[in-house]
């Protein structure tokens, strides 16, 4: 299979992180009982090894691409590539939404989330966002109350 040679900023950082994760999986698996080949730790050890080997393969195969990056150039491109402000702020909105749901309740927090998201992602103008938000919640209430029968918070 042909391997990728596309340049993506900070890919090597991610791959090194995945290598660290794989090593962590392997070490934790090593600490499990692995006296016999069917012990609790045997299969996790195998999977940890597969993870390590596949990451090492990526590092080896992409070494020239990774080496072609200069740190300052790469660091300046990370944010626009993987976390442009729309994505970063939207992940933030999502976290806030889940956190405040326990205190505000599902309906209020979901309404605020929908309206806020429509505005943030430029899906609708303010008045339209307020109306669509209410419409969506009514549809969700009908669907989940009468069809899917899911208790919402």
């Amino acid at each position: 299979m042909e391997e990728n040679t596309e340049r993506r900023p900070a890919e090597r950082i991610l791959i090194w992180f995945l290598l660290a994760l794989s090593l962590f999986v392997f070490v934790v698996a090593w600490l499990m009982p692995h006296q016999t080949l069917s012990s609790s730790g045997a299969f996790p050890l195998f999977i940890g090894s597969v993870m390590i080997l596949s990451v090492l393969r990526i590092l080896w195969k992409e070494r020239k691409v990774f080496a072609s990056w200069k740190w300052h150039e790469e660091l300046s491109l990370i944010q626009p590539f993987v976390l442009p402000w729309e994505v970063a702020s939207y992940i933030g909105v999502l976290v806030v939404y889940i956190v405040v749901t326990s205190s505000l309740g599902f309906w209020v927090s979901s309404y605020l989330f929908l309206v806020g998201s429509f505005l943030l992602l430029k899906g609708a103008r303010p008045i339209k966002a307020l109306i669509i938000g209410i419409g969506m919640l009514v549809v969700i209430w009908l669907l989940f109350q009468y069809i899917f029968r899911i208790i919402l918070w």
Partner: protein
């Protein structure tokens, strides 16, 4: 006679007919929206059915499944953006047809070809599954271990740009599946002393996170792309056109069934193989392939829908998924208390025939729903992503919460969604992760049983592998699959993508 009763069960209840119809409709339109895959549709929507009666849940699932596989073709034809991997080949000739002003004929042909292919696939499922199921009772732990390995070999075709990334993603999925209590010893693994983690991370939270949230986050990058408008007319193809291509439909159906029946090969491979076969065998196509040949739409669309029946054979008889969608469906069946595998046909044969009946009904609905609603579709693809994505996220949150009424699952979903988004941005595919989650426990449990059978003796373990004719056959098949992954699959892809790039260069 009893089997016929179970088969027709979904046809006799208004509620079930409605659920199949609604599922097919939802599947078509979600599958048709670029960026929203059928796997995403199935994983998000089925989470709502966990509190339902199993029959009703199966009705909705069958509809979403059939509709979703077909739906991907619409955006491939109209926008040149396949809604699902299985629709990639459809776009090779479907989009040139749309540019020639024949989008209606392309959609009509893809719909009828999908429906006919779907029916042939279902006939194959109903015929072959009971036979294979009987044979599969002879399978030992090591055979299931080999089958799970074969299933995981699918990462080769789902890996995207790099096989190593696909293998890592598959292993990552297996790792996720190992979090929690060890089924054999009761010991916690990767729980770090947390009691909450002993029950593991619910795979639906992983699925919705990886396919729902991460896809939505990726789509935020495409917020500024203006929606494309298309005029579609004359959608119903003539009988003459259908009869003329009937041999191609039959041939492509057989390819779809054959590929689908292999554990480790799904609709995308089937569609590409059928397209490749049509290119090679048809000497005088309506237009040259890549420039709007009707045959180039019919072959892949027939094959990917026939593949549904084929995929269901290993899924229902052996418990081994054929692709990412069937992996998700297997997970859903587990939640409903069903165990896909040889015992499914013995313990609950009625559910098998009910599922076959529901798939048939969904295929029937595919025809009118596929040949209509073009205006709705045109409006749907014009919906701003900024309006659509928050709704998808909200549905994902509700679906995840609905599994256990637990906010912890929602946090997991969000975590997996963000992690999946980062992985996707760097070329990792999510299909292998889900396969790993589903196949990991099957592989591990059977490996450990096989090892215990031979008292942990490695020579005896390998001797058992080569001394049993069935296991030996599976090993040979697996080695063939490994060998072929770098060979024929790449060859097909190369020749097809060469054509596609050549065609797009000219246009």
């Amino acid at each position: 006679m009893e089997q016929l009763g179970y088969f027709l069960m979904s046809f006799t209840s208004i509620k079930m007919i409605f659920l199949v119809c609604a599922g097919t409709f939802a599947g078509i339109y979600i599958g048709a929206i670029p960026g929203l895959s059928v796997t995403m549709a199935v994983s998000v929507l089925i989470s709502f059915t966990f509190s339902w009666d199993v029959n009703e849940a199966l009705c909705l699932m069958s509809g979403i499944y059939c509709g979703g596989v077909y739906g991907g073709s619409r955006s491939a034809i109209l926008l040149n953006i396949p809604g699902a991997p299985a629709a990639v080949a459809t776009g090779f000739d479907g989009y040139p047809l749309a540019k020639l002003g024949e989008a209606g004929i392309a959609i009509g042909l893809s719909t009828t070809a999908s429906v006919i292919g779907g029916f042939i696939g279902i006939i194959a499922l109903a015929t072959a599954a009971p036979i294979i199921s009987e044979y599969s009772l002879m399978f030992s732990s090591r055979d299931y271990f080999m089958l799970a390995i074969m299933g995981l070999l699918l990462v080769g075709s789902l890996s995207g740009e790099s096989l190593a990334k696909g293998i890592f993603a598959g292993a990552l999925g297996v790792f996720f599946s190992m979090i929690g209590m060890d089924n054999f010893t009761g010991m916690g693994r990767f729980t770090f002393g947390s009691v909450g983690l002993m029950s593991g991370v619910h795979f639906v939270a992983i699925m919705i996170g990886l396919f729902g949230v991460s896809e939505a986050l990726v789509q935020i990058h495409a917020l500024h792309i203006a929606p494309i408008k298309q005029n579609v007319k004359n959608i119903i193809p003539s009988w003459r056109l259908l009869f003329k291509h009937f041999p191609l439909i039959i041939k492509s159906s057989l390819i779809g069934i054959g590929i689908g029946a292999l554990p480790g090969a799904g609709g995308d491979i089937a569609a590409l193989m059928a397209y490749g076969s049509a290119r090679r065998s048809i000497k005088n196509p309506t237009r040259p392939f890549g420039k709007g040949a009707y045959e180039g739409v019919i072959a892949p669309e027939t094959a990917n829908n026939a593949c549904i029946g084929g995929d269901n054979i290993p899924m229902l008889t052996l418990g081994i998924p054929g692709d990412a969608v069937t992996a998700v469906i297997i997970g859903a069946l587990y939640i409903h208390g069903l165990k896909p595998g040889p015992m499914l046909m013995i313990d609950t044969p009625h559910l098998f025939w009910f599922w076959v009946g529901a798939l048939t009904l969904a295929n029937i609905f595919l025809l009118p729903l596929g040949l209509s609603g073009i205006r709705i579709f045109a409006k749907l693809v014009e919906i701003r992503k900024g309006l659509l994505l928050p709704i998808i996220i909200l549905i994902s949150v509700v679906g995840t919460y609905g599994i256990n009424n637990s906010i912890t699952d929602v946090y997991w979903m969000l975590g997996f969604g963000t992690f999946g988004y980062i992985l996707k941005m760097y070329g990792f595919q999510m299909g292998p992760v889900i396969l790993g989650v589903i196949l990991g426990p099957i592989m591990e449990d059977n490996y450990r049983r096989a090892m215990q059978d031979v008292q942990h003796s490695i020579p005896l373990f390998f001797w058992k592998f080569v001394s049993s004719p069935l296991t030996l056959a599976l090993i040979i098949l697996t080695i063939t699959m490994i060998g072929s992954q770098g060979g024929w699959w790449d060859k097909i892809k190369k020749s097809l993508f060469k054509t596609k790039s050549g065609q797009s260069e000219k246009s």
